[in-house]
Symmetry: C2
Subunit: 519 residues, 2 copies
Amino acid sequence: MDERLGELRDLLGEISDLGRARALLAWDERTGMPPGGAPARAEQLATLTRVRHERLTAPRLGELLAELAEPAAELDPDGFEASLVRVATRENAKASRVPAELRARIARTSSLAETAWERAREAGDWASFRPHLERVVDLRREYAACFAPSEHPYDPLLDDFEPGMRTAELIPVLDRLRAGTIELLERIEASPIELDVSPLRGEFAVEAQWRVARRVAATMPIAPSDWRLDETVHPFLTSISPHDVRVTTRLEPDALPTSVWALIHEFGHGMYSNRLSPELERSPLARSVSLGFDESQSRMWENLVGRSRGFCAHLAPILAAEFPDRLGGLDGESLYRAANRVARTPIRMDADEVTYNLHIALRFELEVALFGGELEVADLPEAWRERSVAILGVEPRDDAEGVLQDVHWAAGSFGYFPTYSLGNVIGAQLWERIVVPELGDPEAMFARGELEPLRELMAERLYRHGGKHLPGEMIRRLTGGPLDPEPLLRALGHKFGSLYECNSWPAKNAVREPQLKLR
Amino acid sequence: MDERLGELRDLLGEISDLGRARALLAWDERTGMPPGGAPARAEQLATLTRVRHERLTAPRLGELLAELAEPAAELDPDGFEASLVRVATRENAKASRVPAELRARIARTSSLAETAWERAREAGDWASFRPHLERVVDLRREYAACFAPSEHPYDPLLDDFEPGMRTAELIPVLDRLRAGTIELLERIEASPIELDVSPLRGEFAVEAQWRVARRVAATMPIAPSDWRLDETVHPFLTSISPHDVRVTTRLEPDALPTSVWALIHEFGHGMYSNRLSPELERSPLARSVSLGFDESQSRMWENLVGRSRGFCAHLAPILAAEFPDRLGGLDGESLYRAANRVARTPIRMDADEVTYNLHIALRFELEVALFGGELEVADLPEAWRERSVAILGVEPRDDAEGVLQDVHWAAGSFGYFPTYSLGNVIGAQLWERIVVPELGDPEAMFARGELEPLRELMAERLYRHGGKHLPGEMIRRLTGGPLDPEPLLRALGHKFGSLYECNSWPAKNAVREPQLKLR
């Protein structure tokens, strides 16, 4: 068995290396690649994807996994070896269901659709994007059909991001979150309190924003030898290996909050991948539990740390020092209030902590309908407008503010959006069950810029285990129960009830409008 | 045949992509990779190397090439298809001679030896490096033996850099170059003229050097969308694709010339790879004829352009503007003289245009003796000292200035050094036969910063053809004759004879000391 396990490790190590090399090529394309390199880079990325997929579906890997199934079943299921065989078997089986040729068509079509989307959004031109999106959706339906029979056609798409999670499990969680959010939002809107956002509005020199970003980055509890920071158009995080974390940010004169909170968000992802147990490296276990768990950390660090009263007290003098003219007298409380103003907006990227989940509810509902056969691409713009009014309470001015605002669908990433809300839900569960009991008064630590204790706690409980367990299993291990939106609703109610002085209002748990009707 | 050619292109395209991806990983490692990423990067590089080698030696590629051999022989040998089959057959045959396991051992051993070399050079500690170098040389001897029988055991090593070139062809060329150089050097040293190097000596702020580098780079005739410039420790050039050229430079307070001429050198390589014919992309033809031809361009741009009187006139005001205190009144002629002072030094990297080839002669002689069985690694330091006195006329103070000064041997790159002199030789041949007749008075163009005409000329005659032809064939096509050191000796005699006013001295063609005794 040892010999077979050794061979398995080697094969999986190569697959991991090919994936990480691909990640470096993609990072480079989005940060510093000379524009002339774009066409060749597309070929290079396609080749690495193809070679990696060939290896993941190679007959020898299938044989080895079959031979190891029985002996691995005797091992401790939490141990490295048993987890390796289990997770690799799952990946190999999933990859083998999808013809390489369909994967190639999806990659090519999505790449073209992304380019078409960029132009279409710029011009607010849905008509030019529609045929691209139709092709992408058709291919994704074909992809989902590779996994038939499934309980819901959306399940295989969701599974790519949340292994093992079913649509039917997710619907009640997101429905409850939506209803609770709308209830809180109405209380906030009925409050006479107005939070002053002026400290964060207007133009700030990008050179000084870059210095702010470097200082915020230096506060993050991750070794300076393990990361670098670059500029990009759409910020993201990628890890070329656990100790080679690439953080990106965008600097715009009128978007100071991006240099701070979007940066902390990406560092949240980065700390997760940085603190995997070394034995998991070069294996399919060297990753987060799921995208939802990954977002639980980015959203936790962005919101529960970055937008906390404590951390704002730490941050205010940094901003005051870099912008003495505009923010010379800024105190922590003013920054805290400015960073937490709640307001409805048609744009997800501009949304606050409360309304953010409504943007996800809108997208989730449309995606499930699209793959459940209840909605066609041609009807999307109208459905977006109608559901936006119903869920968000705002009507987009045009398609650029509506159906064209996100890149995800162009890229073929259906099933991705719900992980943002899942991240918020899971983050709040971990906060309530683990962070508060273990750290006592984290706000006081944050005010002193002490973030290591939180990072150590999360590394010990979550990060180091990598992708050994499925998300459903992991949430039970960590919280003793299932996925649960109540801690998030409680946390939001507590924070914003206090900020808007609307805590004493009676909570209405009743769902206010007809829910998703699916299947 | 078309179908088979299509399949061949696809297979070779993947091999090319894997090689280019590897180049990006290596570039990243040497420019901006967080240090924590080093161990994982070594694995990723090894995997890409192994996967690429597997594909290059795959049975299907061999079959296809065998099937295509006959039909390809009927095609125009200068055409794309015939060249593709010819070059791919050569690469496949070479790769198939070497066991994958030996390649892996060479890669691993060289990687360790490079690290050991860095420490050993720092400490001037030959003893700690010697066992590493012995292992590297043993493996390289084993590698060379894979190609037995060969005329000389050094031939297969040379062939990796100069396809088809034999040691026996090279010896008379480098011998004549060495004799002619020593003769010129003695005339220069007998001259009462001293060139004032003070404008380029001493400390210069690195920020201003960076601005100089950007301005020099902007003068180079290559589209701004096709390159980027980064800092590194040991400058190099790599192309991720023809329109994605990565130039690197090193900025040191006491090394202003590096920011200028080492940078132009790298851009010389870059322009070559930037102007390949588009049909060659993603094929084994998408590269220079040989490393010697590649160096012919880097050395041509560095020396024949960069150190020309004309270009110095263009450059002087740039330096004067960035360093007003030190170089405020600098004129072109003073810069030209400072940039061309001839002086013996034990260090190759510090050598001028005249003595540079003597440094290569020293290394070439030792390498040929090492692989010809006339010298052992243990005797290298003493042989270096003795031959340094004989050839360069200087004795290194210690091993750090002697046998430990270059990384090449640690990296296993035997056969590499002669390509520097080959580059000088070929560059001068092309200059005399093509550049001067076609461009008339290039110096006047350079003084105006007009470099496009030279770039266009070289692109038309050399760059666009990529690696279609072997170096011996290419030199005949371009100059009508064989490799010939006389144009270089004439050019050096003309330039330095004029600078040192020693032109009228009688030329002595006689060889002054016993030549290499090989086989």
